[in-house]
């Protein structure tokens, strides 16, 4: 049991992965001498050498495209996309090559590639530095998508991702990089959702940077004697909805929370599945609190874009007022699906 930040946990996890297998190598802009702009790879080039921790030219398509060739040669590349919004120049290689080659080759060509993306807002950044593109990878067959929310998950998930023979997009909650927590001795099963806080009155379903926000909301609700269960999806593709379904069948009320824009965001899929599997257990429509369908705003307005405790609690309140919920959906910032 050690206490550390998410950034430090990722660093330690990458170190373990590099030690465990000589075919593991890291590649990205500024990850070597600088240690990455968030210092997630700090010190790794010094210890593992410039041939295993590679500073690349500034070319995102090439960072991912060359990882394809490295995987074909038997390596296990872990590539860093410096910021979420910079992944789009590499989107073609991710979607058309990384995701497809195992299938295209009749299952013979493995693509054990990890694509690390620091994502999400809340750090006062400029344009293209606060995006939440996870749904675009979730809807791409052939990829798997992970979203750690704690140092414990960060430490173990990055190692599990590197060990996987399937290509994995690791969405790292950049605004939580410096928050600390305990890293335990054993990982949770990789493809599992986890209940982060139990409660019988309503369910919050979330992942990544919003887990801490939802836990804060549940804490605030508890002060008013309302017990909210918080489920951390952890794995966005494939989804593990069994804990969500079990929770919603007990509570009858659920709100899905994420930073990404609402329309066709992951919350839409989760809400649809809950409706399919829990329809007769629901006391109210499935609620969603998300970003809005605008570009991630200039940082001086991001507090209005990002779901916060008040918007989440307002949406939970609405599930207790089911009769009024549908009417209210167009007026509430949180909204009801």
């Amino acid at each position: 049991m050690t206490r550390m930040s998410i950034a430090a946990a990722l660093n330690a996890g990458l170190r373990k992965a590099l030690e465990a297998d000589r075919h593991v190598m890291l590649m990205g802009e500024d990850i070597g001498r600088l240690g990455g702009v968030f210092r997630v790879t700090d010190g790794l080039q010094k210890d593992f050498g410039p041939a295993r921790v590679i500073d690349t030219p500034l070319a995102e398509s090439a960072i991912v495209g060359t990882a394809v060739g490295l995987a074909m040669r038997g390596y296990r590349p872990v590539v860093e996309i410096q910021f979420d919004g910079f992944v789009y120049p590499a989107y073609d290689q991710i979607v058309n090559q990384v995701a497809r080659l195992h299938s295209r080759s009749g299952g013979t060509q493995r693509m054990p590639i990890v694509i690390r993306i620091p994502y999400g807002g809340g750090i006062g950044a400029i344009e293209h530095h606060s995006e939440s593109p996870e749904a675009q990878f979730v809807m791409t067959p052939g990829l798997k998508v992970l979203a750690p929310s704690s140092p414990h998950d960060a430490y173990w998930m990055v190692q599990q991702a590197v060990a996987s023979d399937d290509p994995i997009v690791l969405m790292e909650p950049k605004r939580r990089y410096w928050e600390t927590g305990e890293v335990g001795d054993d990982p949770d099963p990789l493809w599992s959702s986890q209940v982060r806080r139990p409660g019988g009155d309503a369910t919050l379903v979330t992942y990544g940077p919003m887990v801490a926000t939802c836990l804060a909301a549940a804490e605030a609700a508890a002060a008013e004697d309302r017990e909210i269960e918080v489920v951390d999806l952890r794995t966005l593709s494939p989804l593990d909805l069994a804990p969500v379904v079990a929770s919603v069948r007990r509570t009858g009320r659920v709100v899905v929370v994420h930073e990404a824009q609402r329309t066709l965001g992951l919350g839409a899929e989760v809400a649809a599945r809950i409706t399919e599997q829990c329809f007769f257990h629901l006391e109210a429509p499935v609620g969603r609190v998300t970003g809005y369908d605008i570009h991630y705003p200039p940082s001086r307005a991001e507090e209005h874009f990002l779901p916060d405790v008040d918007r989440i609690l307002d949406a939970v309140d609405a599930t207790f007022d089911a009769a009024g919920a549908e009417l209210a959906s167009s007026e509430r910032p949180g909204g009801i699906a």
Partner: protein, 380 residues
Amino acid sequence: MHPSLSTTASPAAAAFDESDLVRLLTPDGRRVEHPDAAWSGSEDDLLALHRDMVLTRRIDTEGYALQRHGELGLWPPSLGQEAVQVGTARALRPHDMAFPTYRDHGVTWVRGVPPERLLGLYRGSEQGGWDPAEHGVALPAIIIGAQTLHAAGYAMGVLMDEAVGHDDAAKDAAVAVYLGDGATSQGDTLEALSWAASFTLPVVFVIENNQYAISTPTNRPGGVPLVRRADGFGIPGVRVDGNDVLACRAVMETALQRARDGRGPTLIEAVTFRRGAHTTSDDPTRYRESAEEEYWEARDPIARVRALLDATGSHAEALAALDAEADALGEHLRAACRAVPDPDLADLFDRMYVESTPELQEQREAVLAWRALGDEEAAR
């Protein structure tokens, strides 16, 4: 469109300046020397290259005919590009890796991919068709230029394996990547060249400049030859007669050896011509002149080797045997095409991941059960 934005001016045949091409065999089949390239192969070597080109052309002819008979949905013809494909691929060693385009039937032939494996993609039965590791040849990327980065990455792996610079044919390896002139407009290609130069990668870029990206001519008049792209990256560039199999083989051997020695990448511009359509879906008479086609027909890569063979002795027996071999190959392909199995529904789900997911398994079972129900009803 504003005239200054037009890219559709047809390159007149007369515009080709052949003076800077590396050439060892003239269009009429005479051997010539060049200071930067040498061919010292035997008569048998010449016959072998000729055989590869004839059989590549036969694969192409059959693929074209199969499409016209409705057996294939599409076919990208390689007619006219046999020399660059066969010549360069024959310079590869078994443990080298090739990254071809979808038109490189000669490259896959030389690397030992059974030609019927090309048919699945175009028949609608496969999205690839072979294990890249088995033959040392990657699956072609349909997205133009994507493979240049895969090749650069693979070459990084070769370097990391320390598989260059031993002066040992068994140890040292190189990577070849093929691209068309159209791919030189793609960002990925420029990133790959930058990467290869930055890391001194053991990779050879072979641009098959066949003059057209579908209907858009290589922007040569008023521009610069593609080979000069190499200058900007500080890597050597060679412009070779792409219809001269001897020159193609010679310059490729030099470039590959440079790569194997650890001295880095080379860019080869092989000047050739796609005699057919881009694919069976387009009509080249809409975008080019018959004079241009006649110009290139007179530079046919197989005819000029045949002329050399005819001049050097009698090969009647070998050539007759080759005719029979090509006929047998054609017959085999026609039968093999009809024998290509339809896609297996379960397999489409099973090959998505190394470790499948519960959701995907559920979908797989559902579609199989649904199909079984349909089969049952049909049987009643």
